[in-house]
């Protein structure tokens, strides 16, 4: 049973920030509410104040240009991303992610900003966005700031957002040349939340013979999405072979810090991190070779 709350509806960012400043104590922002309402129904979250930004149209946008890359507003639905021609052309990995994210119903109403701000470590966009070197713009009434998405997540369902701050948009820079970005989540039921997910970006060297840069990001393998930085380091400057692939998988598994739950034990998740990391690194390597 959902507890009563005071409800405020914002139509602009300014209105939302004013409302947030006024009611920030014991307050939650709702947009699509596809995750929040589940927690509210279970009584795990019971805010006194609820600010609705679903109708803040200025935050519902997908913009792309060759210089700056892709900007997705916080209130943009998953479905809008999935159906976006520019996303399909320039960030096809996001289409694949969306098509495997929950149901059409959820994607029709749930939003990118809501997903990130909810900070569920099983969330799909987080790991891919981090692999794509995303930055997020957040704002309170006084000032805006941008920060790497990598530093946005603090803990389970916790972000760096201050109580008077709102997430405005996420910015994905243009994917560098000779770069492949791949993602896979492992789950028991298709489109369910991931038991573990792995996103890998890999840039081939100019001559195409070695890995110039790589990001390996693990989802549901710790309290937040995390980068397997030591595993990434093993790849840089190297040519991928079976031995190195094994080492990278093992290292990522060591770097993960999975929490057991009803879906999987810690050991099982570590094994999945190893297997999926190997699979994704190999796929990214192969794809980057075709681009080189």
């Amino acid at each position: 049973m959902i507890k009563d709350f005071a409800y405020f509806k914002a139509s602009t960012v300014k209105e939302a920030l004013d409302l947030l400043e006024e009611h920030k104590e014991d307050c939650k922002i709702i947009c699509g509410g596809q995750s929040l309402l589940i927690l509210m129904r279970q009584g795990l979250v019971a805010p006194k104040n609820l600010i609705d930004i679903k109708n803040v149209k200025e935050l519902s946008h997908i913009d792309f240009n060759q210089k700056e890359g892709l900007k997705i507003g916080a209130t943009t639905t998953h479905r809008a991303v999935e159906k976006s021609p520019v996303v399909r052309k320039h960030f096809p990995v996001l289409i694949e992610m969306e098509e495997n994210l929950a149901s059409v119903q959820t994607r029709n109403w749930g939003t990118i900003g809501g997903n990130l701000a909810h900070a569920d470590p099983t969330g799909d966009p987080g790991p891919i966005f981090i692999a794509l070197n995303a930055r997020v713009k957040v704002s309170n009434k006084e000032r805006e700031r941008t920060l790497p998405l990598e530093g946005f997540f603090v803990d389970y369902f916790e972000t760096v957002l201050e109580e008077n701050e709102l997430l405005l948009d996420v910015h994905l820079p243009v994917i560098p040349p000779k770069t492949a970005v791949v993602y896979e989540k492992f789950n028991i039921i298709k489109n369910d939340q991931g038991i573990v997910s792995v996103a890998v970006s890999m840039t081939a060297s100019d001559d195409g013979l070695t890995c110039k840069d790589s990001r390996i990001v693990l989802g549901a393998a710790a309290a937040t999405p995390i980068r397997a930085k030591q595993a990434e380091q093993l790849l840089i400057g190297q040519k991928l072979d079976d031995g190195l692939l094994e080492e990278v998988g093992l290292k990522a598994s060591e770097e993960s810090d999975p929490v057991p739950d009803i879906h999987a034990t810690e050991e099982y998740r570590r094994e999945l991190v190893k297997v999926l990391t190997k699979r994704m690194v190999k796929k990214a390597w192969n794809q980057s070779q075709t681009l080189a």
Partner: protein, 160 residues
Amino acid sequence: MEKQLLHITVNNEYHELYIKPKRLLVEVLRDELGLTGTKRGCNTGACCACTVLVDGAAVKSCSVLAIQADGKEVTTVEGLAEGDKLTPLQRSFLDHGAYQCGFCTSGMLISATALLNENPKPTKEQIKEAIHGNICRCTGYNSIIRAVQAVAKGQYREAG
């Protein structure tokens, strides 16, 4: 907590009613407006039995606050047929035995209607994708898919 005024158009009928902001859309449809065709299944957002159209998009009415549908147009299963005249999809469901126990049917019909509105000639894969979230505990998915396929193939055009 103070009630708030909700303006909502359901199946082309405009309503104004005072509700607590915590009321879910499914509760308002069923308990306030008496439209019990929309089913409350799992009530946790997992089964899609409560699917309705909000401004043409299929959403789970158990996972949307009614107040968030303020000013919007909602279509429930009651809004599909015109009087006694069933839609092609509803007739196809009958012919293919896709109703079964009936509990998931309203959600299935709405999800498939949303698909056909957007894409009148979906492939089998696209049909499966569109009803992926809708759980049928009779597990009669094949007859449901066949019913949607028949409409996509134009077998129910103009008839009835």
